[in-house]
Amino acid sequence: MNSIIKRNQSEKRFKFYGIMAVATAIFLLMILLFKIFSTGITAFNQTYIGVNIQIEANSDVSNLDPRKEFKRNLRVMFPDAKTRKEKKNLYSIFSNGAYYEFQEMLDNYDGKKIDGYYYFLASDDVDMYVKGTVKRKGNSAGRIQPSQMTYIDMFKNMNLIELKYNKYLLGSSDSRDPELAGILGAIYGSFYAILIAFITSFPLGILTAVYLEKLASKNRFSDLIETNINNLAAVPSIVFGLLGLAIFLNFFDLPRSASLVGGLTLGLMTLPTIVIASRSAIKSVPPSIEEASIGLGSSKIQTIFNFTLPLAMPGILTGTIIGMARAIGETAPLLMIGMVAFIVDIPSSPMDAATALPVQIFLWQDSPERAFVERTSAAIMVLLLFLFVLNITAVYLRKKLEKKW
């Protein structure tokens, strides 16, 4: 007789493997999310340095060059910086953005005397040091030289270094300077692209699903269409990118890098998903409702549009939302059609060159500056947030509108 003890031990072991597998999967997910959040959370704040700004009352600021004026104020703060090199080190701890901020300050000048400490954006190297991402070794830290460090230490001793909310991250578009770089342009680009993808795939998808499910006769041809759609759903996304390249860019001559092209490509990619989800939703509408409608004298088409489709809508919408969520995160097809360049302006229409959020993440990840690491994580957090909201909506829709037959 096989030992019952051994068999029970095997049973316990087997069950253990199962639990370990589930635990491992969940654990890996947790690590990933944790890493992203812990690296990204710091990007929402930026280092700002306080500078003593003095402007006399009723000065004529329109003639002032912001850069020169700002530097002048710095020199007043640090009269000991005499040599050119020393001055350069002093200025270099500020970002180019500091000059724009100062310009804004001048634009808003109302004539009153200004004498106080105002905070301006620090450079990305300083930012990394202050946040602790780059550690101090002796008198340097990362790319910061000892000569620059002396000034940083002085500011620190005067309690003039603070972390403030990073308004650039969500409020401006990409920039070569990490401290000025933001995802706003990418968000617009993604938005236009998804909008176009939706407009392209949603009506087409539903019409195809209705036709295949309700109207087509079951013959070889409709089988062919069905097999086609199932296969398209499994085609790698990069192939759709190439299709977009060959057709939209080369054949139709649409502008490269435009959200329009990205949207059309993503639309084609999402179409099979919507068809499949819609078919399954339509299939689950009980035939008794349709029979009742036809029995009352409606035509097949009327029944479909007045009864079947509305009842299938929750399922269709859920599938569409999930399809759109997948499309938002897609990068490869967009790389193929060129939405990968460095775009500084926020696109004002789908025809403008743009980038999309996942592509922006890809580009930032590739950048050498250390400061882009935390920003990439932050951008990922934003992307994941969008996806989370979308998926929750889909689940909510499914539960809320599900009528129990």
């Binding site: 199962g18 589930v22 195809t208 790698p236 990068t331 996942p358 990922i380």
Partner: protein, 466 residues
Amino acid sequence: MISHKIATMNIEFIILSLIGLTAYSFFIGRKKALALSSLKHVTVHSQPYYHGMHSALITIFPAFILLILWSWIESSIFSTNLREYFKDITDPALADFYISGVINFVGGVDQKIMNHVNFMSAVNYYESTMQMNLVLKGIVIILLTLMVSRYSLKLIAADFKARDLVETIVIRIMKYASIFAIVITIGIVLSLLFETMRFFESVAVTEFLFGTHWSPQMSIREDQVGSSGSFGAVPVFTGTLLISFIAMLVAGPIGLFSAIYLSQYASTRIRSLAKPIIEVLAGIPTVVYGFFAVITVGPFFREMGIFFDIDNFSSESALIAGSVLGIMIIPFVASLTDDALSAVPQSLKEGSLAMGATLSETTNKVIIPASFHGIAGSFLLAFSRAIGETMIVVMAAGFAANLTANPFNAVTTVTVQIVGLLTGDQEFNSAKTLSAFALAFVLFFLTLILNIISLTIVNRYREQYE
């Protein structure tokens, strides 16, 4: 892109008039039908809505077709004629550039006067001819639409089967929508095939498929004799297979055992919690995984490599890319395998348990053999997904086309090469960029075969239980 300079007639006006006329047909048609149905001695076949709809559809259809045709013809003609002004330019791309310049200039888009002797005369030609063209176009289309609209309204009668016609049109539209799906596939196949064929004009098929040296940096020059030794794609294929294989080694056991546990052992409560969490792994964009590979997994493996004294552990190794790819694939394997396991009838499970088998024995001796086809199918599908994945490998693997089976070496994959070859500033026709299409064609073909095989296996298995 039509100018404000052209004051009287422009495309927006035409389109607006069309919309207006269509709406007019709809409302008038409906009104007329309504009037008919209120006559007591008349039974109207279709409801007024359908009569209105019918009139609207009839009205817009020819106008729409005509508008498209006209615009197409007009752009061809203009293109040819404008080219005449620039026929001294041999490079067609450059000529196109000047032609767009003319069009933009006339269209009032931000365009300076270009440096070509015929530029302004081309501009004048275009401006005046376009003006005439638009006026003519507008008049013809609007007149035609008016006539069609009147005709459509005349058709309205009690016995006119408007509803049937409208429904037939709707059905036909839906049919074409479905056929569009095939059009997409054909589009993919053709566009890939076309460029692949062009590629094979420069590089031999056998060399591509069987050559072992991949170095597309050198583009084929006219004067290179027999020097086409740099498009052997075997290392790219092996790299793809190596990374995907490693991915399956990660995802296979974890996915399979998760599915077994969740479908056979777990209580409904645990299952309803754990399953969605694992699904989250599938929803994370692959670019995020790529980033994760670079900032966490890569350094981690490097540390392990140092700890275990492994030499030559490349930071872009197949192991790193494959592992992260494997993590992404876990939910695919888990979900599909779970479906397969759950499809085994409960009666078989009960029969085995009633004979005194433990759950693990039942799973291994009855349930898995019974669902074997489904499990095999899901592994194939997951493998196919791994092969087609792009971002994770672009960010974590390298461009080095090494022919190796050593997971610690850096390898490259088909998708990485495609991205690399097509996102530079490349002239579109060079053999280098065309090779990307050849690779894509192989990828498409391979994933298609895998998908078809897996679906056939799964379906054949499903028939067993129906």
